[in-house]
């Protein structure tokens, strides 16, 4: 087994740890750094609960090897504080059990940054990437639109 030492840039901090090349980013975030806000839901790229940002773009951290993230700028839900989208999720009751929430918020935040004036079509295209089983989709829609409008 090859163990290598890597330095990752996570939430603006340089973090060094030992990994296997076969380790996915999600596992390293959770097990090595205790950043458990990113959730495992399928480890198959299907549910979006593990979504983080890599260079500002949404990324399912179960679909990326940790080694691929070296030299990239990674943001996890723990790196997001006091953003309008987080506040909007609270105000609009956009979650119930909360398990999908970090991933959903990361995806919404990436969308807001990429397309501050996104309309329904783009919102739908982006948000199909995450599953909310409690199904607060209506409320999530209201939350994301409230931020898009106010930033547009």
């Amino acid at each position: 087994m090859t163990i290598v030492s890597v330095t990752l840039m996570i939430n603006g901090e340089e973090r060094t740890t030992e990994i296997r090349y076969a380790d996915i980013l999600l596992t390293v975030l959770r097990e090595k750094f205790g950043l458990t806000g990113s959730k495992p839901g399928c480890l198959n790229g299907d549910c979006g609960a593990c979504t983080v940002h890599v260079n500002g773009k949404p990324m399912k951290s179960c679909l990326m090897l940790a080694i691929e993230a070296v030299g990239e700028d990674i943001t996890t839900i723990e790196g997001l504080k006091g953003t309008p989208i987080q506040q909007a999720f609270i105000q609009h009751f956009a979650f119930q059990c909360g398990y999908c929430t970090p991933g959903f918020i990361m995806n919404c935040q990436a969308l807001i940054q990429a397309y501050p004036d996104a309309g329904d079509k783009v919102i739908k295209e982006w948000l199909e990437s995450n599953i909310c089983r409690c199904t607060s989709y209506e409320e999530i829609e209201a939350a994301v639109k409230s931020v898009l409008r106010s930033e547009a």
Binding site: R20, A22, T27, R30, E31, G34, L35, T36, G37, S38, K39, P40, G41, C42, L43, N44, G45, D46, C47, A49, T76, I77, E78, L80, K81, Q86, Q87, F89, I90, Q91, F93, F95, Q96, C97, G98, Y99, C100, T101, P102, I105, K124, E125, L127, E128, N130, I131, C132, R133, C134, T135, S136, Y137, E138, E139, I140, E141
Partner: protein, 776 residues
């Protein structure tokens, strides 16, 4: 102060949006060992040999466990070894369990466990399972140890049988001028909570067993582990952090048993068992399937007279909760209608499918799918408007239920009002198709629903209120926060009762069975009623203590004191009083003397006057109240392709009293959405060998964002007098009528009776093709 009804923000909201809310698998400390299960690749087979040699030899593997020596488990019938021995009975069944020092070693070693099987014939449905020549999945179910109330039939695949006999069915048929018969079929599916099942277990040197689990039933874990393994119940301590979605699926006890066995095998060290998504779908308990036949009879004018019903619940490989599900299905075996003559046989039947957990609605959405399809078929035959037909027969105070409970306004609510409001909201058009274009029609389908929660008659809930020295209150209840916001609602109930700022109530979100009073299980929409009543009782207890302390200090009679705004004060002179903070930890006089002590309120609730069902007639009082609703699903069907879109989903329910409006709305629409996905798409697909072909979220697909229709919800408020502020459960209602309403709409649009789920375009195409073939 009006706190009841307000959309108070859920107390854990900030943690949830910051990724700080902790769930079971978030325990990532490096001292934790990792368990992995090896699962069956056959649906039904004898186990010839389990070779664990290679797996055991992998460096880092600490233990490999197999099933032979393990006790039989199961909630009402002990028919299941935690790890299969001798025989596997469903695809995905746990066969062996490994413990390793990291997850990838455990996974690697799991693949090296070699199991030799001898395949057996597979039973694919409950209908097949009751055929005379069906292979027996359990050789003799009668030999298993069981709880009173479970009623298997010797040398059959039937593990429970419940009879409902109300009135005289022969007389019912004599009085019936028009009859229909409907056969329906629902395959098993899943809860698919976003958090897969997980548990950790650790055995301390003093023998205490510490379990942490993604569970809706921490107190049941404690009780069952104690029973199965003969451990003192007080030595088992179960913790539940936040739970990432339950919907009933996490009310069964499975992974906790395995985690315990794993910890035991490694000298009690802490072990974590996380199910992969594939295991969560195949191995863990599923959503029950049902085959049903409904015969309905009415007068020419549409007055229902007789219902003759057979329910075959798909128990899968083991009985566990299926026994109870089949009983609950019998209790509310009809829709919410006044029917004089009812005859129902409800069976729980073994098959080679996964075995079921409870699922939002606990057998009701399945039963209602069958019954409400029959209602529409009868309305069609009678040429009566299906809504007027339902209104005419709607269950009312004074009527009796299938188990012969006489209803009143408090226990049954107001179904006619639900129907009337629905009619107005949806601009009811009689359910006739409206043509949109050459190929597309738009149709509204409706359904009614009701539900009683058939939980054990002696189910309990407790609450503790501990006061802080600043006068704020800690609220401790055994309800698990699975997403329903019940703990926030409990804080609202308490704030309303004490007339204080809800912000000064701190809610303990986690449960640990050693310090938290029991709440039977966080299921069945019982949180608000049972835990709410316990909180009210605890508040009363605290009020007595507050008043006693204040009466002493203020030298007044406690009868002259009032509690509000975190103060105890004299009714006539509100300025004369004491703040909570002055007495919460005892009162200290200026000279240093102190009296009283910490205010600690305690309250309990136990169900009142519930009874078991009579074995011959089913008569009995199964639960305190019924909740009722009327629903509409409006669809547009492409009559060439049989593709359709759901335009809107509407639910009018009698909520008794809405306690937190936005949270209630979310519960209702979330339930409707689950119902739509369940009815429209979700099903396990098994091949001819009984292997599940879609055990991932890319093949087993819950609803996604862009598929979500528009929702309309309206609340009727007929108080349930026994419940806090009159509230009825709202977590399940939204789902109950959806499958039937969808099928009723699509049946009109497609011009053929659609009585099988899921209602995919292919299902509709098949039904059409079958009908055309039979017409030829």
């Amino acid at each position: 102060m009006e706190i009841i009804g307000k959309s108070v923000i859920r107390r854990e909201a900030l943690d949830k949006v910051r990724g700080r809310a902790v769930y079971t698998s978030d325990d990532t400390s490096s001292s934790v060992l990792h368990a992995k299960i090896v699962t069956s690749t056959f649906a039904h087979a004898n186990i010839i040999a389990v070779d664990v040699e290679k797996a055991s030899a992998v460096p880092g593997v600490l233990a490999v466990i197999t099933g032979e020596q393990l006790p039989l488990t199961g909630e009402e019938i002990r028919d299941r070894r935690p790890l299969a021995a001798d025989k596997v009975r469903y695809y995905g069944e746990a066969v062996a369990l490994l413990v390793a020092d990291n997850p990838h070693t455990a996974a690697k070693a799991a693949a090296l466990v070699h199991v030799e099987y001898e395949p057996l014939p597979v039973v694919h449905s409950p209908t097949d399972a009751i055929r005379k020549d069906a292979p027996l999945i359990h050789e003799n179910v009668d030999e298993y140890e069981r709880e009173e109330g479970a009623d298997p039939i010797t040398f059959t695949n039937i593990n429970n049988y419940t009879k409902i006999r109300k009135g005289n069915i022969e007389a019912g048929w004599r009085e019936s001028e028009v009859t229909v018969e409907a056969s329906v079929s629902i395959p098993p599916s899943d809860h698919a909570a976003m958090e897969t099942r997980a548990a950790t277990a650790e055995i301390m040197e003093n023998g205490e067993i510490h379990i942490t689990s993604s569970s809706q039933a921490p107190f049941m874990i404690k009780r069952l582990l104690s029973t199965y393994f003969d451990i003192d119940v007080g030595k088992i301590i179960v913790n539940t952090p936040f739970v990432g979605g339950g919907y009933g699926g996490k009310a069964s006890v499975q992974q906790e048993i395995l985690a315990y066995l794993a910890a035991k095998a490694v000298d009690g060290r802490k072990v974590k068992l996380e199910y992969s998504r594939e295991q969560d779908l195949t191995t863990a308990p599923c959503h029950v399937g049902l085959d049903a036949t409904i015969k309905l009879g009415s007068t020419k004018e549409g007055c229902l007279k007789a219902a003759e019903i057979v329910y075959l619940f798909d128990s899968g490989a083991y009985s566990d909760k299926a026994v109870h599900l089949s009983r609950a299905g019998a209790v509310d075996c009809t829709g919410p209608y006044d029917i004089e003559h009812i005859w129902c046989d409800s069976y729980s039947v073994y098959t080679n499918h996964p075995y079921p957990a409870p699922y939002r609605g606990f057998a009701h959405s399945e039963v209602l799918f069958a019954f409400e399809r029959a209602m529409n078929m009868l309305a069609e035959k009678l040429e009566i408007d299906p809504l007027e037909f339902r209104l005419k027969n709607a269950i009312l105070p004074g009527h009796t239920t299938p188990t012969q409970v006489v209803l009143n306004r408090s226990t049954v609510g107001d179904l006619p009002e639900c129907l009337r409001r629905l009619k107005k909201m949806i601009h009811w058009d009689g359910g006739k198709p409206t043509r949109i274009n050459e190929r597309t029609v738009r149709v509204k389908g409706i359904s009614c629903a009701w539900k009683n929660s058939t939980i054990p008659p002696d189910s309990i809930s407790g609450a503790i209120l501990t006061f802080n020295e600043d006068g704020s209150i800690n609220l401790i209840s055994g309800v698990v926060e699975i997403g329903t916001a019940t703990k926030t609602v409990l804080a609202q109930i308490l704030a309303e009762k004490l007339q204080m700022d809800v912000g000064n109530i701190h809610v303990k979100m986690t449960v640990d069975t050693q310090t938290t009073p029991e709440h039977w299980k966080t299921v069945a929409s019982r949180g608000t009623l049972m835990a709410g009543r316990a909180v009210l009782a605890a508040a009363d207890d605290a009020i007595v203590q507050l008043k006693n302390a204040a009466a002493c200090v203020l030298r007044v009679s406690k009868d002259d004191l009032v509690v509000a705004n975190s103060r105890v004060f004299v009714r006539e002179e509100p300025e004369r009083g004491l703040d909570f903070k002055e007495i919460a930890y005892g009162y200290q006089y200026p000279n240093g003397n102190a009296v009283g002590g910490q205010i600690i309120g305690r309250g309990t609730y136990i169900q009142r006057n519930m009874t078991h069902l009579d074995k011959e007639t089913g008569a009995g009082r199964p639960g305190p109240e019924w909740a009722v609703s009327a629903q509409c699903i409006e669809i547009e069907l492409d009559q060439r392709d049989f593709t359709y879109k759901v335009v809107r989903a509407v639910c009018v329910l009698d909520a008794g009293r809405v306690l937190n409006e936005k949270a209630a709305w979310g519960q209702v629409t979330g339930a409707m959405s689950m119902g739509l996905a369940f009815a429209g798409r979700e099903t396990f697909v098994f091949d001819e060998k009984g292997r599940m072909m879609n055990p991932q979220l890319r093949t087993y697909r819950p609803m996604h964002y862009k598929e979500n229709p528009r929702y309309l919800v309206d609340f009727v408020e007929t108080p349930h007098l026994e419940a806090p502020y009159g509230a009825r459960g709202v977590g399940e209602q939204g789902l109950l009528g959806v499958p039937a309403a969808l099928a009723n709409a699509l049946s009109v649009a497609a011009g053929t009776a659609l009585n099988r789920l899921p209602l995919t375009p292919e299902t509709i195409w098949r039904a059409k093709a079958k009908e055309e073939a039979s017409n030829r």
